[in-house]
Every structure is written in structure tokens, then in C-alpha cells.
């Protein structure tokens, strides 16, 4: 198992150790600061640049889905498009509407952005995450991503705009609802891995958890895509209904921050799914771990994009119903199945699961998944398209007998 773990060493302890050796004993604090600054700069730049590139990627792929080109003017394949967008947004006037709650209005984009960046700091791209091993990574992520809800509400409330307010209200209701199945799906992970540390979760995945608990995967990715509020769950923005939702009144760099967060969301979801269900950085052959991580995230991102490009939006009550009537029971079934299997299969002395145990769990869980999905789909899904046979109304019958109307051609006459 250890052979697949790469000793990259580019994390907080590694950098701190390097400077600690370099500097005299009395300057320990300086090593600490330098390490923090370096790590912060690397992390921020890496994430923001990859998000910028991702906006280009998303627009190109969406363009392909919609049989058009996508941005291709500025730079090779339009790769500089994010830069052009950034310059445009930075040079735009940054307006704050009259009557807006100015401090809250200004703070909202930051409240949005910081949690999203923090998530990346604990994700293990290789054997450890950037700031080292966090032993409560799962809980940290669930906690930090829910701050987003506050950002939506702050932006909507402070804008003093009815559309923004409606979007924010929808957003709060939806985001809180979908945190429940998302959290419950993570409980299944914790049960299967026996740890809350993200690196531990990856190390426990001798078989990727997508095979061990497909139900958990489905619940998690659905809830997570609702959390990032894209179609079919994009009621927060709902451009055909609310214009732009909570960000109606934002412009300039504040709008750019909101957009940055919005485009970062799929990356976060993809990285989380990769870590929790696709065995993170682990792979085969000489390909290094971070590359595996990127490849797996890429597949998930493409999947999310595909959904976004294809499906219409659900109505607000249908979305809430789906969370509580559909995903919630599925998540509970998943936890229940995992708990029972864990209790039956685990080694009585160490409490650990072997790879063989995981395969047995996978076999049982696939059956449970298919059965429970079929049941839920039949309970909640739309009935088969069976319309009553159209019966021509008797109120107006154009085939009834009546004098033939004079047609223009019968009135042939002189043209004056």
C-alpha cells in the first residue's frame, strides 16, 4: 500500500523543516511565517489559475455540446479568454446600489470565496495535503462548505433587490436541505474508511469507494452538484426567472469574485468526489499521484458539465422534495447498509476491514443500490407518458356543415 504513496514533501511540514534548518535557532518564527506565505501564495495562484483555465474549458466544452465554437479568438484556442474577462471585469465600474447594506454587500464575495479556497488547502493531492495531514478533514470540509449559504444570503439581502432576495431565499432553503444528504453520504465514507482524515480515506480505498458504496456516490454527487447550484439545481441564479438571482446587483471585481467562486465549485466537487470515492491520488504504473488525481477529477468535471448542458431546471418545491423524499432516504439506506456490513464483516480485535471484506460489501451494496433506486424512482418519478387520448371538443367544429366561405380566388375581377 505504501508503495503507491508518493513522498512529495511539498507541504507545510516539508517547507517549514527546510527553512528551520536554514535559519538560526532564534528565527524559528520566521521559518513558520515564510512557510505559510509560500504555501498560501502557491495555493492561491494554483487554484485561481486553474479556475481561470477551467472557465475556458467549460465554455469550450459547452460550446461543443451546443454545436457552436465557444471562445476561440484570444490566444491559442481562446486560452487567454479568462484574462480578457478579468481585465474587462476589473475595469468596469464597481457599483453599489443606493440603499444597499454596504458593509455586508462588500463582504459577501469574500465570504463566498474564502471557504472555497480553504477546501483546497486540506485536499490530499498526494500523500498529504498542502497544510499537512488534518485528522478531521471530512468534518472540516462539510463545515467549511456550508459557509457558502451565508454568502448567498448576505449577497441577496444586502443588495436590496427583490430578485436578489428571491434568489437568496431559494438558495438558503436549497443549500441547507442538500447539506443533509451530503453529510449523510459522508458518514458512509467514514464508516467504510474508519477515519475522518482525508488521506486516511484515500489509503483505505483498496477498492475505490464508488464500487463499495455506489448509493453513497450517487447521493453525494447529486447533493454536491446541488450545492454548487448548477442545472438542474440552479434555482439560485435561474437566469430565465430571476435574471441573475443573488448577484443581480454586483458588478466589477465583486462580480468577478462571485463568478470565480461559481466556477471553482465544480473543481471542488470533482476534487472531493475523487478523494472520497475514486481513491484520490492512487493509481497504477509510473504515473505520479497528482496526475492521477487530476485525471480522475477531470472525468468528474466532464460528467458535471454534461449534466449542466443537458437538463432543464427543477422548480423550487420539486428540488426540496427531491432532497427530502429522494436523497435523504437513499442516504439513510446507505448508512444503514454500511453499518450492518461493517458490524458483520470487521475483524473483532482490530476493527479493520480487509480488501476481501470490501468486495463483499460492494456486492451487497450494488444490489441494495439498484433495488432502492428503482423503488425511489417509482415512488417519486413521473408516471410514464400516458396522456388521455385527445378528443376533439364539440364547442367548435370546423368540419361541421356550413356555407363554404368566399375565397379570394373566386372573386376574380379586374385589377385596377
Amino acid at each position: 500500500m505504501e508503495a503507491t504513496v508518493l513522498k512529495a514533501g511539498f507541504d507545510f511540514t516539508g517547507i517549514y523543516g527546510f527553512f528551520d534548518d536554514l535559519l538560526p535557532e532564534s528565527l524559528d518564527w520566521l521559518a513558520y511565517v515564510i512557510a505559510a506565505v509560500i504555501l498560501g501564495a502557491v495555493l492561491l495562484n494554483a487554484i485561481i489559475i486553474s479556475t481561470a483555465l477551467y472557465t475556458w474549458f467549460e465554455r469550450r466544452v459547452l460550446g461543443r455540446f451546443q454545436s457552436r465554437m465557444g471562445p476561440n479568438r484570444w490566444g491559442p484556442f481562446g486560452l487567454f479568454q479568462p484574462l480578457a474577462d478579468l481585465i474587462k471585469l476589473m475595469t468596469k465600474e464597481d457599483t453599489i446600489p443606493e440603499g444597499a447594506d454596504r458593509p455586508v454587500f462588500t463582504l459577501a464575495p469574500i465570504v463566498f470565496l474564502v471557504p472555497a479556497l480553504l477546501v483546497f488547502s486540506v485536499l490530499p493531492f498526494h500523500s498529504s495535503s498542502f497544510i499537512g495531514k488534518l485528522n478531521v478533514g471530512l468534518i472540516f470540509i462539510i463545515a467549511i462548505t456550508s459557509v457558502n449559504t451565508l454568502g448567498v444570503f448576505m449577497a441577496g439581502w444586502a443588495s436590496r433587490n427583490k430578485y436578489a432576495m428571491l434568489g437568496a431565499m431559494r438558495g438558503v432553503a436549497m443549500l441547507i436541505s442538500y447539506e443533509v444528504p451530503m453529510g449523510l453520504a459522508v458518514v458512509g465514507i467514514a464508516l467504510g474508511a474508519g477515519t475522518l482524515s482525508l488521506s486516511g480515506v484515500v489509503l483505505a480505498q483498496n477498492i475505490p469507494f464508488i464500487l463499495v458504496m455506489p448509493l453513497g456516490f450517487i447521493v453525494f454527487i447529486t447533493a454536491a452538484s446541488a450545492e454548487m447550484s448548477r442545472t438542474p439545481f440552479d434555482i439560485i441564479e435561474a437566469d430565465s426567472e430571476l435574471g441573475a438571482g443573488y448577484n443581480t446587483e454586483y458588478s466589477g471585481i465583486k462580480f468577478a469574485l462571485l463568478q470565480l467562486n461559481e466556477f471553482m465549485a465544480p473543481l471542488i466537487v470533482a476534487a472531493l468526489v475523487t478523494t472520497l470515492f475514486l481513491s484520490g491520488w492512487r493509481g497504477w504504473g509510473p504515473v505520479p499521484g497528482p496526475i492521477w488525481f487530476v485525471i480522475k477529477s477531470f472525468v468528474i468535471v466532464l460528467l458535471l458539465l454534461w449534466v449542466r448542458a443537458t437538463w432543464p431546471r427543477l422548480r423550487v418545491d420539486q428540488i426540496m422534495g427531491f432532497a427530502w423524499k429522494g436523497l435523504f432516504p437513499l442516504a439513510i439506506i446507505n448508512i444503514f447498509a454500511m453499518a450492518v456490513e461493517f458490524q458483520v464483516l470487521r475483524d473483532d480485535t482490530t476493527g479493520a476491514l480487509t480488501t476481501g471484506d470490501l468486495w463483499i460489501m460492494a456486492a451487497a451494496n450494488w444490489i441494495i443500490t439498484i433495488v432502492s433506486l428503482a423503488v425511489i424512482a417509482n415512488v417519486l418519478g413521473q408516471r410514464k407518458l400516458r396522456r388521455p387520448e385527445p378528443v376533439p371538443s364539440q364547442l367548435a367544429n370546423m368540419f361541421a356543415d356550413r356555407p363554404a366561405p368566399e375565397s379570394a380566388t373566386q372573386l376574380s375581377g379586374e385589377v385596377d
Binding site: 427583490k162 431565499m169 440552479d234 427543477l314 385527445p390 376533439p392 371538443s393 367548435a396 385589377v415
Partner: protein, 367 residues
């Protein structure tokens, strides 16, 4: 302690992504629920009826293009038929076929737009819309072959059409007739049994046949309620009595039926075009007449089934070179009669979808 709430009044439009132009709707919401909705029109008023009094009968054709600007051909058809009735002008056979072909092509284009924008309003991220526009592009290119214009075609004239179709138009049309059914299949495969589309549109915004007739509603919205009324069959004009086609109707009268009727109508239009291409014979396309038409004193009303409903023109002539008065019966405007009844009690998301399913064009609503 109960929390005190109060309804919120919002102006949906005139600048709003899903008002199909500059339509304004003053809506009172209780949370997400629509309590009251009042349509306010007139933001695109250009005085078409008054302008017509200043122009001669051929010039007015260009004004009609700008009414329902996604189906200019049917506008032209309704107008020139009224002038022909007023002035007793003959139309050559070939011109009649060309008119029906171009009108049906335009019906397909208009229904494609209606379907695409309906899906856009349902929240699909523009993909169905772009698919629809891709097919519409073929139609617009054929219009370009016919008359050089794509949207504001002005193809028809009192007494015929502008010019005969060029040679390379016919293979193009054959190709279109062959491929269009498969495109419609593709569209239906994406939409018709889509789980979310069904959840969002089925039994939403129902109007009954009685309501629809009482509200003078025509077109696909009327037919979706089960009333089999189509002017192409009810008062066969041009060559509609020589071709074989069905009038699709809906069973419930909800948003889904309105979508379905449009898709089925596209298939029927393809059928009509196919038969017209088989029947059309060489000949003149325009009755020779004076450049300036002076119809005798009198008045005339004539109408045709435009993609939105019954489009009628009422023209009063005082014997001069331009009408004394022209009135347009605009189906888009009259189909809005029942908007309030359809919207109240539904949510914001449904409001947008129901409104989109009526398929109005503001150029025609405000004239």
C-alpha cells in the same frame, strides 16, 4: 408568534430575460406563489396600423414583416390575401404553391423558436435552443434564396410572389423535407419524455376549451385544449384544400400539450411541403397589374393561420393608393387574454414557463 409576511410586487420586465422582448408583467407574489399578474403592453408600439395609412399597398408588405418577426411569411400571406380580396386580384397557381411552401417553412421556423425558448425558460442551459436555431438556419437560408432576406422577407405581393424560386432552391428544399423529420425526432428524443420537462410542464397552466374559446384564443394554444380549429382546414385558402394533413390537438390544455401540439404541427408542415413540391407546376408567379394598386371603395377582412393563431387584416379602402384604415388582428396579443387566469396560483418558475408556452412575439403584441 406567527411571522408577519406581506406580498411582494415585482415588475417582470420590460427588461427581463424571458419576456420575449419588452413585455412587462406586474406580478404580486406571496413568497414564490403568484397572487396576481397584470400584463402591461406597449413598449414596442410602432404604430404599424397608422403607418399603413401613409404607404401604398405594396409598401405595406414590408410593415407586416415586422409584426411577428419570426414568421414574416405568414404575415405577408394574411396581408396580401386581404388586399387581393379587396381588389379582386387573381393569383397564379404556382404563386399559391410557393406561398404555401414558404408559409409552412416559416411555421416550422416559428415553432422551433417557440420550443427552443420554452426549453430555455425551463432552464436548460441553451442547448435545446441552439439545436432549434441550427435547424431554423436551414429555413432562413432557403428564404435567402427565395428573396434575398432572411427575417424580414417581404416575399409576397398582392397578386403573387416577388419572384420564382431559383433552380437550386428545389434540391435544397427536397433535402430539408428529407432531413427535417429526423431532426424533429432528435428534438423529441431530448425533450418529450424528459423527466424534468414532464415534472415542470405536465398539468401546469391548464386552460379549458370553454375558457380558450371565451378568450378568443386561437392557434396552438387553442388546439392544445382539444378544440380542432385551424383556418387552413376551416377556411381552406391558397392550396391547403389540395394537400392532405392533420390538425393535431392536445388533451389537457397544459403547458406540455402546447409544446406537443407545436412539435406535431411541425411534422404536418413537413408533410404539406412535401405534397406541394410534388404538385407544383411551372407557370407565372405574379399577376401582371399596375404598379400602384387602387382597390375599389369598400372593406375586406381576411386571415390565415399564422404559427401563433388567427392572423387577420381588416382594410378599409377609399379608392386611393393607400388604405383608409388598417386593423390587425394579432394572435399574440389576443392569446394573452387569459394570462392572469393561467398564472395565478403557480410559482415564479411556472409563470415563466406558462408565459413562454403561449409563444408571443412582442412585435405583434404591440404592433
Amino acid at each position: 408568534m406567527p411571522i408577519k409576511t406581506e406580498p411582494v410586487t415585482i415588475n417582470l420586465g420590460p427588461q427581463h430575460p424571458s419576456t420575449h422582448g419588452v413585455f412587462r408583467l406586474r406580478v404580486t407574489f406571496d413568497g414564490e406563489m403568484v397572487l396576481d399578474a397584470e400584463p402591461i403592453v406597449g413598449y414596442l408600439h410602432r404604430g404599424t396600423e397608422k403607418l399603413a395609412e401613409e404607404r401604398n399597398y405594396v409598401q405595406i408588405v414590408t410593415l407586416t414583416d415586422r409584426l411577428d418577426y419570426v414568421s414574416a411569411m405568414t404575415n405577408n400571406l394574411a396581408y396580401v390575401r386581404t388586399v387581393e380580396r379587396l381588389g379582386n386580384i387573381d393569383v397564379p397557381e404556382r404563386a399559391k404553391y410557393l406561398r404555401v411552401i414558404s408559409a409552412e417553412l416559416n411555421r416550422i421556423a416559428s415553432h422551433l423558436i417557440a420550443t427552443g425558448f420554452l426549453l430555455d425558460e425551463l432552464g436548460a442551459f441553451h442547448t435545446p435552443l441552439v439545436y432549434c436555431f441550427r435547424e431554423r438556419e436551414h429555413i432562413l437560408e432557403m428564404f435567402e434564396m427565395l428573396c434575398g432576406a432572411r427575417i424580414t422577407v417581404s416575399y409576397m405581393r398582392p397578386g403573387g410572389v416577388l419572384q420564382d424560386a431559383p433552380e437550386d432552391f428545389w434540391p435544397r428544399l427536397d433535402d430539408f423535407v428529407k432531413t427535417m423529420p429526423s431532426y424533429i425526432d432528435e428534438l423529441e428524443g431530448l425533450i418529450t419524455e424528459n423527466e424534468i420537462v414532464l415534472a415542470r410542464t405536465r398539468d401546469v397552466g391548464i386552460i379549458t376549451a370553454e375558457q380558450a374559446i371565451a378568450g378568443s384564443i386561437t392557434g396552438p394554444v387553442l388546439r392544445s385544449t382539444g378544440v380542432q380549429w385551424d383556418l387552413r382546414k376551416a377556411e381552406p385558402h391558397e392550396v391547403y384544400d389540395r394537400v392532405d394533413f392533420d390538425i393535431p390537438i392536445g388533451s389537457v390544455g397544459d403547458t406540455y400539450d402546447r409544446y406537443l401540439v407545436r412539435v406535431l404541427e411541425m411534422r404536418q408542415s413537413v408533410r404539406i411541403i412535401k405534397q406541394c413540391v410534388e404538385q407544383i407546376a411551372p407557370g407565372p408567379v405574379r399577376t401582371a397589374g399596375p404598379f400602384v394598386i387602387r382597390p375599389p371603395v369598400g372593406d375586406a377582412y381576411d386571415c390565415t393561420e399564422s404559427p401563433k393563431g388567427e392572423l387577420g387584416f381588416y382594410i378599409v379602402s377609399d379608392g386611393g393608393i393607400s388604405p383608409y384604415r388598417m386593423h390587425i388582428r394579432a394572435p399574440s396579443f389576443i392569446n394573452l387574454t387569459l394570462l392572469r387566469e393561467m398564472l395565478v396560483g403557480w410559482k415564479i418558475a411556472d409563470l415563466v414557463v406558462i408565459f413562454g408556452s403561449i409563444d408571443i412575439v412582442l412585435g405583434e403584441v404591440d404592433r
